[in-house]
């Protein structure tokens, strides 16, 4: 008890210095947590993917479409319980910086494959009845203030022209990892418009989404789908939804790696600050340590004092930092809007924050503790700091 009290007293001796160190730790811990959350957000699409869904795309690359008549052939494969399709629309809402993903989907079947998009039954009915209607996610609706009944104008980039859609339904995510920044509309509407404009581009879709009854057969069914269309005009590549999403992440992997590295750089910066504080503290107190030694306290007691003080400062900084991470992350998420559809501080991030703070606290005291433990009593008493 006295030991703890002594540590606390020591910590409060230089209030300014301890306060500044804690402040530095808070900044570093918040920055570290935020960067880790950004990395998590990068993988959010893959995290939210279901293992019971496969995605079939054109083998050349995603920009090549697939013919709509593949749908019935895939449906007949054993183990396929449902199939739908989606096409990337790539429209611009007012200006490029308001990016959000838009898909033309098969309105009858698509949402049956995605039970995590929760839509009120009457809104679903209204969407299916309106060929120019659309379904949007809650986050997208909040970002731009869209309400049911509003018209959303989009400028087509892949499909030229000015397009207007009426919001008929807003979906919520069943889980926190569900992406609610998307925009869905009727593929039939897109197809019929293209029929009038560019007949060559009718009856093509972007990707097929296949639901399988047994996730363990994913590899087998994928192989079967691809074999069916080998040597055809549009060869396919089928993979699990998770692999499909991870494919996107790996294309920008360099950025993820850079953010990871940077998140550890901030830890080293704060380690330098913390180690400096402890080094100065120990240096000033060498005389006291010598006195304590002369009184009969062992080197481990002195080391304990130093490690204890360092840990106390580190953990105080970590506690405040972790508490602050949540409002800062919420604010950040609001600022970037639909750029990161899912942005939440995970439990692992909090554990990592606490763990790094502890490591920083311990590592910062290694040198000062060694010095205090080793200093001969006479030299220590003679020291003037």
């Amino acid at each position: 008890m006295h030991f703890l009290k002594l540590i606390l007293r020591n910590t409060l001796r230089h209030k300014l210095r301890s306060g500044l160190t804690v402040l530095g730790l808070v900044v570093a811990i918040v920055a570290f947590g935020l960067l880790r959350t950004v990395v998590d957000a990068w993988y959010a699409g893959a995290e939210g993917a279901s293992s019971a869904r496969l995605v079939t795309r054109n083998a050349i690359s995603l920009v090549f479409p697939l013919p709509i008549n593949y749908q019935e052939r895939i449906r007949k494969i054993d183990g396929v319980s449902a199939i739908s399709h989606a096409s990337w629309f790539g429209g611009v809402y007012v200006s490029e910086k308001n990016f959000f993903p838009q898909f033309a989907v098969d309105a009858k079947t698509y949402f049956d494959l995605y039970p995590e998009y929760v839509i009120a039954p009457e809104e679903m009915k209204a969407f299916r009845a309106d060929r120019k209607g659309c379904v949007i996610g809650r986050k997208l609706a909040n970002t731009h203030g869209f309400k049911v009944g509003d018209t959303i104008p989009l400028r087509g980039t892949i499909y030229p022209g000015a397009w207007n859609f009426t919001v008929r339904a807003i979906y919520d995510g069943a889980e926190s990892a569900t992406d609610t920044s998307q925009f869905f509309f009727h593929w039939d509407y897109l197809n019929e418009t293209m029929k009038k404009a560019v007949a060559r581009r009718t009856d093509w879709i972007g990707v097929y989404v296949i639901q399988i009854s047994d996730p363990d057969r994913a590899a087998e069914i994928s192989g079967e789908v691809d074999a069916m269309f080998r040597n055809s005009l549009a060869e396919t590549l089928t993979e699990t939804e998770k692999a499909f999403q991870l494919g996107f992440v790996s294309m920008t992997e360099a950025i993820v790696i850079a953010i990871r590295i940077v998140s550890f750089v901030v830890i080293f910066i704060i380690l330098a600050v913390m180690a400096n504080t402890m080094a100065m503290t120990a240096r000033e107190r060498i005389r006291e340590y010598a006195t304590l030694k002369a009184l009969g306290f062992g080197p481990s007691f002195l080391a304990g004092l130093i490690y204890g003080e360092s840990l106390m400062i580190a953990l105080a900084g970590a506690a405040i930092g972790i508490v602050l991470t949540f409002p800062v992350a919420a604010q950040f998420s609001e600022q970037v809007g639909t750029l990161f559809p899912v942005f939440g501080v995970s439990r692992e991030t909090v554990y990592m924050q606490a763990a790094t703070a502890t490591v920083v606290g311990l590592a910062a005291s290694v040198l000062p503790a060694l010095r205090a433990a080793r200093v001969p009593i006479v030299d220590g008493l003679r020291s003037i700091g």
Binding site: G24, P160, V265, I269, A279
Partner: protein, 388 residues
């Protein structure tokens, strides 16, 4: 003043560990700051040098990228025959009708797939890009299933070295050459014959038309005519502008993320400097009193401590820059969100970045040193002489 300067230096030397740790923290911040600027500069240089002032890229209106653009054959012919388009030595127009698609290739190191841009170029396509040279093998011959790969594609993707074969569009394509485009965006592309590629991909349309103008000043006239022509739904951009726009999102992302991080991190380093400087002032209270008693002014004391903080910052800045300069050895390759294809670029250091980084380091020094220095300057002579 020289006395005070050596006093400052000796003080820094007396507390080696503290000096090292404080400057070390700042060095890391400067490293991050400089690296981000170098990355942005590398990206800028790669894309700006890809385009030339004299060339014009014509794409479908509001397509944004060549991949999304579609130009019919008759529209392309109209563009090619505009009066501003230059003639080559053979009398033919200096125009290249190109088809651009993305294909998914597998990386050598990670076995992961990424999108690579493949460009079908017309007969004049190479002449329009003088920066492109063949460094290994030879040029593809028109009318054949031959392709050449950009340097950074050949290094990083399976099947893209000379003599290797890539299979797409129901055909096998032999890589016959490697092109070096002087670190421009073309290094991250694969080129082949436009007609062959269009056939293989069953695309009866072009993606873009690149033309060389007789005179770069004729651009605005050319642009106005193209964009006003009711037969065309196209837009024209100078090639360098076109490529700069291609990277805007990625460049902004790097810049903002980098700046925000540098500022947040610098708070940590400034706090480190403050702790050091406050301690420095506290240790030397008696000495400050002595100096003041000897006749040194408050302003001089302030300056002395500020110089000490600036030296800490300068040391951090130099070390951080030295560390960052090693990053020039690395190349980053990532997907450019706008073109949805792979782009390789390297960290590029220039004098502006060196100056900015050093200034940033000095600002951190002043930020950390000002309050402690002000405290030192405000000390009362009698009180400070009495302090133990």
């Amino acid at each position: 003043m020289p006395i005070l300067l050596s006093y400052t230096l000796r003080n820094l030397a007396a507390r080696k560990l503290t000096t090292l740790l404080t400057s070390g923290g700042m060095a890391l911040v400067v490293f991050v700051f400089a690296t981000v600027l170098m990355l942005e500069e590398g990206l800028r240089r790669t894309l700006v040098e890809t385009g030339s002032m004299d060339n014009v890229v014509v794409t479908r209106r509001s397509a944004g990228t060549e991949v999304q653009s579609v130009i019919d054959r008759d529209q392309a012919a109209i563009v090619e025959n505009q009066p501003e388009v230059a003639h080559g030595i053979d009398g033919a127009r200096l125009a290249s009708k190109e088809t651009i698609v993305l294909i998914s290739l597998v990386k050598r190191d990670s076995d992961k797939a990424s999108n690579v841009l493949i460009r079908g170029v017309g007969q004049k396509g190479v002449e329009l890009r003088p920066q492109v040279g063949i460094v290994e093998g030879r040029m593809f011959s028109p009318g054949s299933a031959e392709i050449i790969a950009g340097k950074s594609i050949a290094e990083r993707y399976h099947g893209a070295r000379v003599g290797e074969i890539l299979r797409f569009g129901q055909r096998e394509w032999t890589v016959v050459g490697i092109m070096d485009a002087g670190r421009t965006g073309f290094d991250s592309e694969i080129w082949g014959d436009a007609d062959q590629l269009m056939q293989a991909f069953r695309r009866p349309v072009y993606s873009s038309v690149i033309v060389r103008l007789n005179d770069a000043r004729g651009f605005s006239e050319f642009k106005t005519r193209i964009e006003a022509d009711p037969r065309l739904t196209l837009e024209a951009k100078q090639e360098n502008v076109f490529y700069a726009e291609q990277s805007r999102v990625l460049a902004n992302f790097i810049r903002y993320l980098g700046l925000i991080l540098s500022i947040i991190f610098s708070i940590g380093a400034i706090i480190g400097a403050m702790i050091t400087m406050y301690a420095s002032v506290a240790h030397r209270t008696t000495e400050i009193g002595t100096l003041r008693a000897l006749g040194f002014r408050r302003a001089t004391i302030l300056l002395t401590f500020l110089i000490e903080a600036l030296m800490l910052g300068a040391a951090g800045g130099v070390v951080g820059l030295v560390l960052a300069s090693f990053m020039q050895l690395f190349t980053i390759s990532t997907m450019n969100w706008q073109s949805f294809s792979e782009l390789a670029f390297s960290f590029t250091l220039n004098t502006a970045i060196i100056a900015k980084s050093l200034a940033f380091a000095l600002i951190m020094g002043v930020g950390g040193g000002f309050l402690p220095a002000a405290r030192a300057a405000r000390l009362d002579i009698v009180d400070s002489l009495r302090a133990a």
